[in-house]
């Protein structure tokens, strides 16, 4: 009993540590005073102003479009790569998987700088597409990481069986392989989307002047003071993803309940 109390208490403390800054940001989004350190009363002004602020809205659009496109393209490239790699011999397989570890293990600052130098060497303008390509690059490993473990020998065997029984290649793929790896693709996509949305360092080095995402706007505002509209926007983003994830989890829980029947 005592042990259980202590472990719950400890878990609570860590969660408090992780979520304390988030509560503070949410509180600040309702703070009438523009100062971060003084409470000036409750207001919805910032939520109202937010949608009139062209710069923030523009940055929000850029951020979401880049994150979405990068995650989709990375999911396609990564999933295709996994399908091919899973059939390879040990050495090429090791090399290809090793390459995917590089952007993940390397420091963001080095990845960002090296991509910036690449674009400059190719005389490629630093703007929307340079950021997009950089994000795809660091997103691919997350997709591979989530999809690869799903491609087991088991589904290769079932795939062969389906082929023997007369299924066409594409029919067998869509009926056997894809449903099996789809949860992996989905979690890889979500992970990639999240990483892309939260990225600052790589965007900072691969963006040109005049193009901003939310992170880079916030970074320039850190010194002169953050516009309170930014807190309002982050609160909205956070709450909407929270709701979305709870809904996904609910659905998953239901599916979990059904699964044993299907496998039996």
């Amino acid at each position: 009993m005592v042990k259980k109390f202590f472990s719950r208490f400890y878990l609570g403390l860590i969660l408090l540590f992780l979520y304390a800054p988030i509560f503070i940001l949410i509180i600040l989004s309702f703070n009438k005073s523009k100062s971060r350190s003084r409470w000036g009363g409750f207001t919805f002004t910032w939520y109202h102003n937010l949608f009139q602020d062209e710069a923030i809205m523009e940055a929000l659009r850029n951020t979401l479009i880049i994150a979405l496109l990068a995650a989709i393209i990375a999911s396609v490239i990564g999933t295709c790569a996994c399908l091919a790699i899973s059939n390879m011999k040990k050495i090429p397989r090791g090399i290809l998987l090793g390459i995917s570890n590089v952007p993940m293990m390397n420091a963001d600052i080095v990845t960002g700088i090296s991509l910036m130098l690449l674009f400059i060497a190719l005389n490629y303008p630093l703007s929307f597409s340079s950021i997009l390509m950089s994000h795809i690059t660091f997103n691919i490993p997350y997709v591979i990481l989530s999809v690869m473990p799903r491609l087991t020998r088991q589904n290769a065997i079932i795939y062969e069986a389906a082929r023997d029984l007369g299924a066409t290649k594409s029919y067998a793929f869509f009926k056997i392989i894809l449903p099996d790896i789809f949860p992996g693709i989905l979690s890889g996509f979500l992970l990639a989307f999240t990483m892309s949305l939260d990225d600052f360092v790589i965007t900072y080095f691969t963006k040109g002047a005049g193009f901003d995402t939310l992170s880079t706007i916030i970074y320039t505002e850190v010194r002169k003071g953050i516009k309170p509209e930014m807190y309002a926007l982050s609160t909205l983003l956070f709450i909407s993803i929270l709701i979305l994830l709870v809904l996904i989890n609910r659905k998953k829980d239901k599916e979990h309940g059904e699964k044993p029947l299907r496998n039996a």
Binding site: Y10, L11, I14, F17, L18, P21, I22, I24, L25, L28, R36, S37, C80, A81, A84, I85, N87, M88, G94, L97, G98, I99, N101, V102, P103, M105, N106, A107, D108, I109, V110, I113, S114, L117, L118, S134, T137, I140, L145, S146, P149, Y159, S187, T194, M195, L197, D198, F200, V201, F205, L214, S215, I218, V222, S234, L237, I241, L242, N249, K252
Partner: protein, 272 residues
């Protein structure tokens, strides 16, 4: 299924262009002077007292933060594992969710907590305790590092713990081991791959950050990441910046080598 080899081509070409070639460009800049001739002076700039001091400080702070993360995360992972939740994604969700609040804003919020007039000091004042000098110190940066990178320690350890079959633990208990001995001889060694990947996932970003030191250290604490960032963004000396980045990469390669040594059987796919 040999016909599917071509599916790896987009990936191979992409990674070749955007991962391998850029690394060679950094190496090129790191070993050449402004005019284009070969030189080692960019690399040897790391021995400049200011650069060396900041590299040393970065190593110190990132090692301390990694140790703190490990000490916090291991018991937590044991607790989470002990809760026997049937849905793993829930655990992953609560630790990834904070990332949906922008990383810079989250770190900035720690300013509010640690400041002279911040949450902690206001609280201490209520208790009539002396105020603490927290912000703009190395301690504040360690705080920021632990905060930002703790999930990267928790998830791999939790993952490796949940892979340990209960049969091993039951067998150990059947053979007369008490719970401490079972932990030391069975659970700990089997969870080591998770611990090692957690250590790398925390150590590398802490060692190379420039944002956390920017926000929580004022301009008083300069890490090696800040020096490299300045070389590219304000001084505009790409050769020096690349040279220092190469030095940094030696440390990263070193920790990657340790990781692959421990992570052999899982082929590097279980970092999360």
């Amino acid at each position: 299924m040999n016909t599917k080899k071509w599916l790896s081509y987009p990936y191979t070409i992409w990674m070749g262009i955007f991962v391998i070639i850029p690394l060679f460009i950094i190496i090129y800049y790191g070993f050449t002077a402004e005019g284009g001739g070969f030189t080692l002076s960019n690399i040897s700039l790391i021995t400049d007292p200011i650069n060396l001091a900041s590299l040393w400080l970065s190593l110190e702070l990132s090692l301390v933060s990694t140790a703190i993360c490990l000490l916090l995360a291991y018991p937590l992972s044991l607790i989470l594992h002990g809760m026997k939740l049937k849905n793993n994604s829930f655990i992953i969700m609560i630790f990834i969710l904070p990332m949906w609040m922008n990383f810079l804003l989250r770190t900035l919020a720690w300013q509010n907590i640690l400041e002279k007039t911040g949450v902690i000091n206001t609280f201490l004042k209520l208790l009539h305790l002396p105020a603490l000098d927290l912000i703009n110190t190395p301690g504040a940066i360690i705080f920021g590092m632990v905060y930002n990178f703790l999930p990267f320690m928790i998830l791999p350890i939790y993952n490796s713990l949940s892979k340990i079959s209960d049969d091993y633990i039951n067998a150990a208990r059947d053979l007369g081991a008490n719970s401490l001995l079972t932990f030391l001889k069975v659970i700990l060694p089997l969870s080591l791959p998770g611990v090692v990947s957690g250590i790398t996932m925390v150590f590398v970003p802490s060692l190379t950050t420039f944002v956390i030191s920017d926000i929580l250290g004022g301009s008083k604490v300069v890490l090696i990441g800040n020096i490299i960032e300045q070389q590219f963004k304000t001084v505009n000396n790409w050769h020096t910046g690349s040279g220092l980045s190469l030095v940094l990469m030696v440390f990263i390669l070193f920790s990657m080598a340790i990781l692959t040594k421990y992570d052999k059987e899982s082929e590097g796919k279980n970092i999360w």
